[in-house]
Symmetry: C2
Subunit: 456 residues, 2 copies
């Protein structure tokens, strides 16, 4: 929280200085701020004020700093600002941006503008930009940068160090060096740390790691980020179909991917579609669409619960007290089932749980869910006695154990089933699981009630 407080103070001082057009304070303030913070302040300003304040602020920054700030802005805002910029300014900005951020920004522009800009670029730059901008969203290619340090096979350590020094101002990271063979294929890698402690005359080829962990351009970015985290990499090389090195994904981009994937998973767990921006800024219409689809589908799924109730109308009319326990029973089953599903879905997302673990986990869930059911039955039984007598208490307790057990097993198995069918296991969201359990819970409860009470 202290960070947020400091930021909002900096913001108000800044906005104040802008409004008073106090150049002196502005020149004093701006160099102290970090790019990520300026970006956040810009977003905040744009929510409250109009875009002109943002522009006058941006214009006070050098083009290098502006490029830095740009990398931290959400897509929508980048687009808005780029539309108001001249081609000259945009080209100057492009030059200072890292190659992956440049490609992202480029993809936000409309067709005509893109063509116009490409025509004004040098050939090599143009090819690089077109290539990076062409990878499908969500792949390693779309998050990689082409600003890496690569050396040809056959160099000595001191030659390699010289190359690192030359490339240092432009590369995204200079701490991992990639060695290429004559065809541009990735032959090995070496860290700057290893280079620095090695004998200057030694050959890099003798020292480098040859078994390099890499991904393909079309591998999912989620898996790319997972490999970076798993092997504690500074960057992971990205290769094309011919094993040629085409880019790297650095740890900081991998962290961003991991965070947005976690957010997506959390939202999916509640049947919310993928939002193109944070919840504070995503357009209302989009937020509505991403939430409504499953909600309406589940309304119809819920009709099965209703149909179940209609089928058992006689016993309900005879024993209205049974309705008293209905929300409690189906609610408890739904909660336990959603817990089981969530544990599986997250386990699969982090790679801890695989299809092969199904049998073992089923056994575990059987034991845990059985104990949960019994505990909850014991908790609810006395109330059953109070509200409807011993027979009702028995019905309620038996139903509780059965529904919690059934619900948990359903919640546990559903993600595996979906995965097996080639779907995203996260589709087994809490709302879906609870709705399914509601319907089955109604059937279980009233069937048990009919069996026990109709004999009385």
């Amino acid at each position: 929280m202290s960070l947020n407080e400091a930021l909002s103070e900096q913001k108000s001082v800044l906005v104040d200085a802008l409004e008073r057009d106090d150049q002196g304070s502005l020149e004093e303030l701006l160099p102290e701020l970090r790019a990520a913070d300026i970006a956040e302040i810009l977003e905040d300003i744009l929510e409250e004020d109009d875009a002109t304040t943002v522009f006058s602020l941006l214009n006070l920054l050098s083009i290098e700093r502006r490029a830095n700030v740009y990398g931290y802005l959400p897509a929508e805002l980048q687009e808005e600002l780029a539309e108001a910029m001249s081609d000259e300014t945009l080209l100057a900005l492009f030059e200072e941006m890292s190659s992956d951020e440049r490609a992202d920004l480029f993809n936000l522009l409309d067709e005509d503008r893109r063509e116009g800009l490409l025509r004004r670029m040098a050939r090599q730059e143009r090819e690089d930009l077109k290539r990076l901008a062409s990878y499908e969203e969500g792949t390693a290619g779309a998050v990689m940068t082409s600003d890496y340090v690569a050396i040809p096979s056959g160099m000595t350590v001191s030659q390699a160090l010289m190359r690192v020094r030359q490339t240092a101002p432009d590369a995204e990271t200079v701490y991992q060096i990639y060695v290429l063979d004559e065809e541009g294929r990735l032959a090995g890698t070496m860290s700057l740390r290893q280079l620095m402690v090695a004998r200057p005359g030694a050959r890099v080829d003798d020292l480098m790691i040859k078994d390099v962990i890499s991904v393909r351009v079309d591998d999912p970015q989620e898996e790319t980020a997972r490999l970076v985290a798993r092997y504690d990499l500074l960057a992971i090389p990205v290769i094309d179909a011919e094993d040629r090195l085409v880019g790297i994904v650095t740890y900081d981009d991998a962290m961003d991917v991991a965070e947005s994937e976690a957010t997506e998973d959390i939202h999916k767990g509640m049947s919310i579609g993928q939002l193109e921006d944070g919840v504070r800024r995503v357009p209302l219409w989009s937020l509505y669409r991403k939430r409504v689809m499953w909600l309406v589908l589940l309304v119809f799924a819920n009709l099965f619960s209703g149909a179940g109730i209609a089928y058992f109308e006689d016993i309900i009319t005879a024993q209205v007290a049974l309705v008293f326990f209905l929300p409690l029973l189906i609610g408890s089953g739904g909660n336990a089932g959603a817990q089981a599903a969530t544990l599986m879905v997250r386990g699969m997302a982090t790679g801890e749980v695989g299809l092969k673990d199904w049998g073992k986990l089923l056994g575990r869930e059987l034991l845990v869910a059985g104990s949960l059911g019994v505990t909850m039955a014991v908790a609810v039984a006395p109330i059953g006695v109070l509200r409807g007598g011993e027979a009702v208490a028995m019905v309620v307790a038996t139903s509780m154990v059965t529904i919690v057990l059934f619900g948990s097993l359903l919640g546990m198995c559903l993600p595996f089933l979906l995965n097996r069918l080639g779907w995203d296991p996260a589709t087994a969201s809490a709302p879906l699981v609870t709705t399914l359990i509601d319907a089955s819970g109604v059937l279980i409860y009233f069937s048990i009630a009919t069996a026990v009470l109709s004999g009385l």
Copy 2:
């Protein structure tokens, strides 16, 4: 999946070689495997076979490699293996481990063993270990390492580079250098990249960044990880109450923290307590305990729904068709409310949403939830006509809009309220929100039904 397949193949070859005691294949296989993969294979073996296979495998590794593998093993397994080791082996292992992993392992041992080991260590090592092991779990101090490169103020660039070369074999990262004043306070920082391109005779003090982003030892590790991600840091320095540098948290540890915090948040969102290990391995008893608490609490909360139903017993008996729509209405409200709560809780966890955004977000939720309610009312109204006539359809449609709107607003506001009260907003889990909405939904539905239908 290809990674998992490759791993399970490597594992079966390895286990096979171990069983046949085929030293030749083992010596060929082991150097090819990465520490993280060996750790995973060990875990798998331990699940199926007994610990002796694991031991014979570990004994084939050099002590450096064993130390590396150790860093990737879950706490429970580390503890089990350490208990079976002699003090000599453990001390040798300690020497090779990074300081943060050593402290974690040390904390797993029992009191007597710890005392015994400390007595056999050199003074400086002992102090370092005792200090690192003393920080409370969940703080920056508990995840930091003391293996960093620090130089005194006043050095030239070439002196600093020399120091980096000397420290390279031991430090966790050499890519960020920290400059300390005479009292050991953090005076500035400089990246190795900047050092390499700087003039060798220049003074580090003139080039370094003085406004360093840092955390305090007792700051939460979650916030520490967030700062690393926000400012794209390679490592964040950790300072004590006197501003002295006491450690650093590197990006790879920050990534691990971020992943486990995301898992914790996802579990919390379904009212599951913090698990000390992955779902596949956590003891059954612990899994039961972490799930049962809220489930039982919610059983009692659900009694309010029951009490509501009991209160409206008359109208239910008169119009049993109303019960048909009960699961559907309270289910829909619960789903919409859980969505709203999840959006807020995740927004707060990533730092996108703060308490100050409450008003704006309330307005947005009002619009979105209103539209959702109307859409779902339209979907359900025809069925209302079919099942109970126009009057029932009107009751159901009106209830749907009211319950979805009320549920969404409740779901949206609850995380803010909890946060305001100093609680974790994630306590506003889907089960809690749906249970609260179930109870209110019963009241809303039957109140509307009584008002409309009793007049007929």
